[in-house]
């Protein structure tokens, strides 16, 4: 068996267990620099492992999982490169390796979530990921006690969602006779028992809560605002997107023939949740007083748009949802990195005023955040534009004018968010009490470049991601 074939067959497991083990090693490594080097190397190796099958066109039977894993592994690798110098400003020598180790293990759990093909694995991965993220947030309490409620909220949400997910998994098994998420097992049964329907609903609720889908998004914004800057991308983006991918899988399951007319109910519920997410995320992003909270709310709004597209159904809807999520992840990454670059003394939060005058002190960082901001609005030739275009098309094709209006309203609201960001960075003086921007911005470059290049290059020519999304959508829906 050649190495490539071995990677194709076992790359996923290798990534998850490898990251778990390396994460555990990191937590007990006495030297923070060594821990940082190990963490960065592990994250880059995971990104390479995740990307290799996509590049080789060997995504296998689960292109959605492969694509999502690659996306999240790349985001995480970029975030880990940036994490070293940022964490050095946040924690002492003893705590830094623990933070890095926990972040690696949280990444492992997230990648396990995206690759899970059965409900039981999914549930375990979700709970593990949620708890690890809560632990990361708890580290912030060492620096600022104000972070305690956010950590408590994360723990509580994870435990509640975990309980719901476990109950849902049991009921789903009772109803459908299988833990399989692929749909074939479900279709083998003549009709879904009521237990199966309730189980699927419970699992959907659990995944939605862990993904921070509105209205259960408050905790996600708190966590994003209070998690140490160095680990914020893993907690606020990777973990949430992984849970959202699980949500997509479960939604697809509910659209199987076995659910009969209830499928339509699930579709409406999904789209309805999406509309709530778009409204809540957009409004709260406009009023956000913290840059990372803004990123979290923006991601909530993007999730809303993706849910609307998903609810609209069909391959086009699924493709649109995948585009929107990828664009949302990149935007959030740029915003979080921008916040870290702007804040000299990393405390419990990154107030918006930290971005004031950023363009003069860090022009490239400001340009990157600016691109992300325009991407957020769905400006043309950005990845988000294509996502919005496809979403509106999918909604109109279904005759859901209200859904199209919701997507457009999100863009409309995002213009104000982007305007606020640009105005702060380019037209305001930096307040004296904030102090100059910190050194070490070079380490943030890979993360920012990843976000900007992905946003612009795939916005210019979306053929490659479109094809990947199409393959994933067809596999999800069992279409030829």
């Amino acid at each position: 068996m050649s190495a490539l074939v071995f990677i194709d067959a076992h790359g996923g497991a290798l990534m998850v267990f490898g990251l778990m083990i390396v994460g555990a090693i990191c937590t007990v490594t006495p030297a923070p620099r060594t821990a940082a080097t190990i963490a960065v190397a592990a994250a880059i190796a995971a990104a390479a492992l995740a990307t290799l099958p996509i590049v080789r066109g060997a995504a296998g039977a689960d292109p959605l999982g492969a694509g999502a894993t690659a996306l999240l592994a790349i985001v995480a690798a970029a975030a880990f490169i940036a994490a070293g110098p940022v964490l050095a400003r946040e924690f002492d020598r003893r705590t830094r390796p623990i933070a890095l180790g926990l972040a690696l293990m949280a990444l492992a759990a997230a990648l396990a979530t995206t690759q899970a093909r059965d409900v039981l694995t999914l549930t375990v991965a979700l709970i593990a990921g949620g708890l690890l993220c809560a632990c990361l947030t708890s580290l912030a309490v060492l620096r600022a006690r104000a972070s305690a409620p956010a950590a408590f909220g994360a723990v509580l949400t994870t435990l509640c969602a975990g309980a719901l997910a476990l109950a849902g998994a049991g009921l789903l098994y009772a109803g459908l006779g299988a833990f399989d998420l692929a749909g074939e097992a479900a279709a083998a049964h003549a009709g879904a028992a009521r237990a199966g329907v309730v189980g699927a609903a419970l699992l959907l609720v659990a995944c939605a809560a862990l993904a921070g889908v509105a209205p259960a998004h408050g905790w996600a914004a708190d966590v994003a605002a209070h998690t140490p800057h160095g680990a914020a991308a893993v907690v606020a983006i990777v973990a949430r997107v992984a849970a959202f991918v699980a949500l997509i899988r479960l939604h697809t399951l509910t659209q199987a023939e076995v659910f009969g007319p209830l499928s339509l109910g699930f579709a409406y519920a999904t789209a309805g949740l999406g509309a709530i997410g778009v409204a809540a995320g957009s409004i709260q992003a406009i009023g956000a007083s913290d840059a990372r909270r803004l990123a979290a709310h923006a991601l909530t709004a993007q999730f809303g748009g993706a849910l609307i597209a998903l609810g609209a159904g069909g391959i086009d809807g699924a493709i649109a949802a995948l585009f929107v999520i990828a664009a949302g992840a990149m935007t959030a990454l740029a915003l979080i990195v921008g916040a870290a670059a702007a804040r000299p003394q990393l405390g419990a939060s990154a107030p918006m005023s930290a971005l004031d005058g950023l363009a003069r002190q860090r022009p490239f960082v400001a340009a990157g955040v600016g691109v992300a901001a325009f991407g957020l609005t769905g400006a043309p030739l950005t990845l988000a534009f294509l996502g919005k275009w496809l979403s509106v098309e999918a909604a109109l094709a279904r005759g859901w004018y209200w859904a199209a209006i919701a997507v457009v309203a999100a863009s409309f609201a995002a213009v104000f968010v982007a305007g606020q960001l640009v105005e702060r960075m380019y037209f305001r003086e930096r307040p004296a009490q904030i102090g100059p921007t910190p050194a070490g911005a070079l380490a943030l470059a890979p993360a920012l470049l990843t976000a900007v290049v992905t946003t612009l290059v795939f916005g210019w020519n979306g053929a490659a991601p479109l094809e990947a999304a199409r393959v994933a959508a067809r596999a999800m829906l069992g279409a030829p």
Binding site: T377, A404, I405, V408, E423, L466
Partner: protein, 493 residues
């Protein structure tokens, strides 16, 4: 050179021009040569393109395809190339004026201003040559972003606010109304390609056509139709080259062009089906025209007065575009709108240049301060007079011909009230602009003014006179333009 190469050059040249400016920003002489040379090169390319299209050649290029059937493509058609040529020609005059202005005011960041003006010009040409609605939208957005630093240039807080207001308004309207209209059009018509006669015929219901037209007109905020007109009046405080570029060459003109392009090349005869929305837009444009003309009287600052008159002049383009759909007047309205775009661009550039030169020489453009200034700056005030008379629609200046065709179109349409409103607007523009000019030429200068105010430098005066001369040239060029725009003019009388 093939028409496809010219199309590519028309987009690439101003982009390269902007990049060169960023690199070769010193010494000032080299920077100015690059800026003026780049603008002249673009004007030459567009003129060559116009000659090719006039000879009957057509071309289309695809630059990118972000999604299947969603092309970033450019095409050479008479209306688009004519608008691009006017914009590029005025852009060259603007470039010369900008070089003079930057030297005179010892601006802190001239290269940045020039680079963004090159980008704005690229976006304007992109909008003009867009082969489809997607490309139109992309360059419309690029234009909104590129003109924002021009309006905010100078670091002044008021300018910053005006620029931010403009940017947020343009992006919000484009995202909130223009984009949905484009996607909807794509879904129902199955194409986004501009075509003579429109693309919606047989694909859209009466209600759909009305809603679509409303969305399109609302989405093109640069057309400055009430209540989106405020961006233009707020921007009156911008530096003179920025005002000239944004009011005459890029954003405002693109607004008018956009409405005309949508009416003629997306709706076509379907505008008749969208008569409710078309008449509503017509009424709104008429009200805006009259309101803005009246409001201009109340401004003592000439730049503010001019901004209100620009709103009124732009409304005349919208009126022409909406007058298109009914009966024999169909193409007369569109032809009038196209002529008005040319006349508006030339006259507005003249007025902006002249006011800038006056400000540079005397330190302000308050109406009360103009007394007696005309005798000290005869060339500038001669150009100002030409621009004012063109705004007023006085023959044989450029503004006269669109008024004539608008009246014909309004009569054919059975909406003589719109024609009367245009005439009233012209009279008010005449009064609002010629009164201060008369004061400048014939009133006695105040005793406390220095005997000889500083003269405006030649680099400001030459473009002012050049733009003023353009307002006269339409007299000679009317017939060739009518022949050139035959595709748009259609069955007009």
């Amino acid at each position: 050179m093939s028409i496809e190469t010219l199309l590519l050059l028309a987009i690439a040249a101003p982009l390269a021009h902007g990049v060169l400016l960023a690199v070769l920003n010193r010494p000032p002489g080299l920077r100015d040569v690059v800026h003026v040379g780049g603008a002249i090169a673009l004007a030459t390319i567009c003129a060559m393109l116009m000659a090719e299209v006039g000879a009957g050649y057509r071309g289309r290029i695809v630059v990118a395809e972000p999604l299947p059937d969603l092309e970033l493509a450019f095409a050479a058609d008479p209306l688009g190339v004519a608008f691009a040529t006017v914009a590029a020609g005025l852009g060259a005059l603007c470039a010369l004026y900008t070089a003079g202005w930057m030297r005179l005011t010892k601006d802190k960041a001239p290269a940045r201003f020039m680079a963004f003006s090159a980008l704005a010009l690229a976006a304007t040409v992109g909008v003009a040559l867009a082969a489809n609605l997607f490309t139109f939208f992309v360059f419309y957005e690029v234009l909104a972003i590129a003109t924002f630093p021009l309006l905010a240039h100078g670091g002044d807080r008021a300018r910053g606010r005006a620029g931010a207001y403009y940017l947020v308004l343009m992006l919000a309207l484009a995202m909130g109304a223009l984009l949905p209209a484009i996607v909807w059009t794509g879904v129902v018509a199955g194409t986004l390609e501009f075509a003579p006669g429109g693309i919606l015929a047989g694909h859209v219901s009466v209600i759909g056509a009305n809603v679509l037209l409303a969305l399109f007109v609302l989405g093109i905020g640069m057309a400055a139709l009430f209540p989106a007109h405020r961006w233009l009046t707020l921007a009156s405080g911008a530096a003179a080259p920025a005002a000239a570029l944004v009011f005459a060459v890029t954003a405002a003109s693109v607004g008018g062009f956009g409405v005309l392009r949508i009416a003629a090349y997306v709706f076509g005869p379907v505008l008749r089906e969208a008569s409710v929305a078309a008449n509503a837009v017509l009424a709104l444009a008429t009200i805006t025209l009259l309101g803005a003309s009246l409001a201009a009287f109340g401004r003592r600052n000439m730049a503010q007065r001019l901004s209100y008159l620009c709103v009124a002049q732009l409304c005349a383009v919208t009126i022409g575009a909406m007058l298109g759909p009914v009966g024999e007047g169909l193409a007369a309205g569109w032809f009038a709108a196209a002529l008005q775009l040319v006349a508006y661009g030339a006259a507005t550039a003249t007025l902006c240049f002249a006011l800038g030169a006056i400000e540079a020489a005397s330190g302000g453009v308050e109406v009360d301060d103009l007394a007696g200034l005309g005798r000290r700056m005869p060339w500038v005030f001669a150009a100002l007079t030409l621009g004012a008379l063109s705004f007023a629609g006085a023959p044989p200046l450029a503004g006269a011909w669109p008024r004539l065709w608008l009246t014909i179109a309004a009569a054919d349409h059975g909406a003589l009230w719109a024609g009367l409103a245009v005439a009233a607007g012209a009279l008010m523009a005449f009064a609002a602009l010629t009164a201060p000019v008369t004061r400048a030429l014939f009133a006695i200068a105040p005793a406390d003014r220095p005997a000889t105010p500083d003269r405006a430098p030649l680099l400001l005066i030459v473009p002012t006179i050049g733009a003023g001369a353009l307002t006269l040239m339409l007299l000679v060029w009317l017939n060739p333009i009518a022949r050139y725009l035959a595709e748009l003019r259609g069955g007009a009388p």
